[in-house]
Symmetry: C2
Subunit: 339 residues, 2 copies
C-alpha cells in the first residue's frame, strides 16, 4: 500500500468535469432502470414530470402507476445547487461551511402489486461544496413474504459489486444499512437490508458518524480505515453499484410474479407497507429534511405506497409465513453467506 | 384586577390531591367519551387493553373497530411517572430539571367511515415536576368534505367553553391550533382547527414558545398577558373543554351520517387521510417523542387511519367539492363568527 497524504489536494481533486460526468451517469441510471422496469412490468409505462427549483437546478420525476407487476414505481433524478448546504449536512462536513454546493442523484422506490415481490429502494447521490466532495447511497430490499434465496441473491449481487473495489466495502456498508433502516419503535429492521453509505470522500474513513441528528438508528463505530482512494475510484464504485440494481432485483420479481395470493396475503402486505411509511416519515433523514425545507413534496413522497393499512395491536400467529417474516427476515442476517 | 405576585407559592400551589383529582377526571372523560361514541355508533363497542410502563405508571387504551359509523376510534387514558422529563420538555420548563415528574392525560382520534363525517382529535394532559405544573390540550376537526355550519358549530362550542373562563382563551388557543396543526410541506392546515394550548400554569403567559424543536409550524408571539389564575381555575377550564367534545362533535356526525357517497368520495377520503399520517409522523411532537423514546407504540399509533391512499401529484379539479376543501377549509378562518 502506497502511503498517500490525505492532505494531498491533487490526489483528491475531482476532475474539472466532475459534475457533468456524475449527473450524466445519474440520468443514464434513471433511464436504464426505467427501461428495465418497463420491460419487467410488461404493461406499465413511466410518465415524467420535469421540475425546476427556484434556488437553482431541478429534476425529472418518473412514475409508473397500475402496471401489471408494479402497483407503483417512482424513479427520480435531480441536480440542484445553492449558496449553502443545510445545517444538518454542514454538521457532518464543516469544511463546506461558507461555500456554495452542488448535488445530484437518482432515487427509486418500487411497490409491487404481489405480496410475494419485495418493495425495493435505491438512492445514489454526489455532493460538492467548496473544498469537499462525497458520494453516498445504497439499495435495500423489503419483503412481505420472505424467501431466503431472494435475500441472498440481492446481497450477493451487491457484495460482488463491492468486492470488485474493496473487500471492506460490503461488510461495512451492509451493517450500516441494517442500522440505518431500523424502526426503533417497532424493534424491526425495515427489511433484509442491502447497502447504505454516506460521506465517501476517499479519505479512508468508511463510516462517518455518529448520526448527527438523532433521527436514524445507532451507527457502527470502530470500523477499519482504508487506504485513500481518489475520485475516479469512487465514481467507478458508484457506477458499479448503480448498475447492480436491475440484475439484483429483476430475477427476484420474475421468480415470484406468478405465485398466487389472496386477501390474507394482500392484507398483510398493506399492513406491512405501513412500516415503510413509518420509517420514511419518522426516521429517514432525506425525507424529513426535504419536507421541512423546500423540497418538491410530490417527488419526495413518491416513496409512499399507493395503499396502506394500519391495524391496532396486530401480531402474526406463530408458525405462519407472516410470523417468519418477523422472526427471520426483519433481523440483521448474513444473507451473502446464507446456506 | 387584583395584583398577584407570580412568585406567590401559596397562590399557585396545586392541592394535595391534585394528581388523584386530575387522573380521576381524565379516566372519567375517557369513560364518558367512549359511552357517548358507542351510543352514536349504535353497533361498535370499545375493547380495552390495560398496560403498564416499566419506568412507572400505565394506561388503558380503548379501540372501536368496524363500527356502523366509526371505521376506527381510539381513546387512550394514561398516567405515568418517572425520574425526569425528556429534554424536549425540559427546554420549555427548565424549572423541572432534576425533579421527578407525573403526567396524566386522555387522547382520542376518530376515523369515521363516511367521507362526510370529519375526523376528530382530542387530547388533554396534566404535568407536575418539582416546583412546576401545567395543563395542555385541545381538540381539532378534520373534514374531508367541508360544511361551513359544521366547522362553525365545532368552534362555537369550544369558544363558549373558553369564554366561561376568559375572553382571551379562545382567540389565542384557536390561533395556536391553526399554527400547530399545519403541514408546511403541503401549505395546508390539517383541518378546520379548534383549540390547542400547552404549558398553562396560570402565570399569565397564554403562549409558551417559540416552538422548541422546530418540528411543528410557526407559533404566535405578542400575545396578551392575563392576570394569574390558580390551579382550581385551570382545572375547571380543562374539565369544561373536555366535556365540550361530545356536544361539539356528535351533532355533526348525526347530521351527516345518512348522506350517501360513492367511490369518488371514498377515494378522496382515503387520499386525504394520508395528510393525517403525514402530520402525525412528521410534525406531531407527542407522536415523534413517544416513538423515539419508550412509549407504547400501539397506543401512540392508534391515531393512524385504518386505510390510507397516496397518489402522486393529485390536485382536485377546480369548482368541485374536493377543491372547496382546499380553498376554503384548509386555511385559517374565523369559524366562530361564520355567517
Amino acid at each position: 500500500m502506497t502511503a498517500i497524504n490525505t492532505n494531498n489536494t491533487e490526489f483528491f481533486a475531482p476532475p474539472a468535469d466532475s459534475q457533468e460526468r456524475v449527473s450524466q451517469f445519474m440520468k443514464q441510471l434513471q433511464d436504464e432502470i426505467c427501461a428495465g422496469l418497463e420491460e419487467l412490468d410488461g404493461e406499465g409505462k413511466f410518465r415524467e414530470d420535469s421540475w425546476q427549483r427556484e434556488e437553482g437546478g431541478g429534476g425529472r420525476s418518473r412514475i409508473l402507476n397500475e402496471g401489471a407487476l408494479l402497483e407503483q414505481g417512482g424513479v427520480n433524478f435531480s441536480e440542484v445547487w445553492g449558496s449553502q448546504l443545510p445545517p444538518s449536512i454542514l454538521k457532518q462536513r464543516p469544511e463546506a461551511a461558507g461555500h456554495g454546493f452542488y448535488a445530484t442523484g437518482t432515487s427509486m422506490v418500487l411497490h409491487p402489486r404481489s405480496p410475494y415481490i419485495p418493495t425495493v429502494h435505491l438512492n445514489y447521490r454526489y455532493f460538492e461544496a467548496g473544498p469537499v466532495w462525497w458520494f453516498g447511497g445504497g439499495a435495500d430490499l423489503t419483503p412481505y413474504y420472505g424467501f431466503t434465496e431472494d435475500a441472498s441473491h440481492f446481497h450477493k449481487s451487491f457484495k460482488a459489486a463491492c468486492d470488485k473495489h474493496h473487500q471492506e466495502y460490503y461488510p461495512v456498508f451492509k451493517r450500516w444499512c441494517d442500522e440505518y433502516f431500523y424502526l426503533k419503535h417497532r424493534q424491526e429492521t425495515r427489511g433484509v437490508g442491502g447497502l447504505f453509505f454516506d460521506y465517501q470522500d476517499g479519505k479512508g474513513s468508511l463510516y462517518r458518524g455518529p448520526n448527527p441528528d438523532g433521527i436514524a438508528g445507532t451507527y457502527s463505530k470502530n470500523l477499519p480505515e482504508l487506504e485513500p482512494r481518489n475520485w475516479e475510484d469512487l465514481f467507478s464504485f458508484i457506477q458499479d453499484c448503480g448498475r447492480t440494481f436491475l440484475p439484483a432485483y429483476v430475477p427476484i420479481a420474475q421468480k415470484r410474479r406468478n405465485l398466487e395470493y389472496g386477501d390474507r396475503e394482500r392484507n398483510f402486505q398493506l399492513y406491512r407497507r405501513g412500516r415503510y411509511v413509518e420509517f420514511n416519515l419518522v426516521y429517514d433523514r432525506g425525507t424529513i429534511f426535504g419536507l421541512q425545507t423546500n423540497g418538491r413534496t410530490e417527488s419526495i413522497l413518491m416513496s409512499l405506497p399507493p395503499l396502506v393499512r394500519w391495524q391496532y395491536s396486530y401480531y402474526p400467529e406463530p408458525n405462519t409465513p407472516e410470523a417468519e417474516l418477523y422472526d427471520l427476515f426483519l433481523k440483521p442476517q448474513d444473507w451473502a453467506n446464507w446456506q
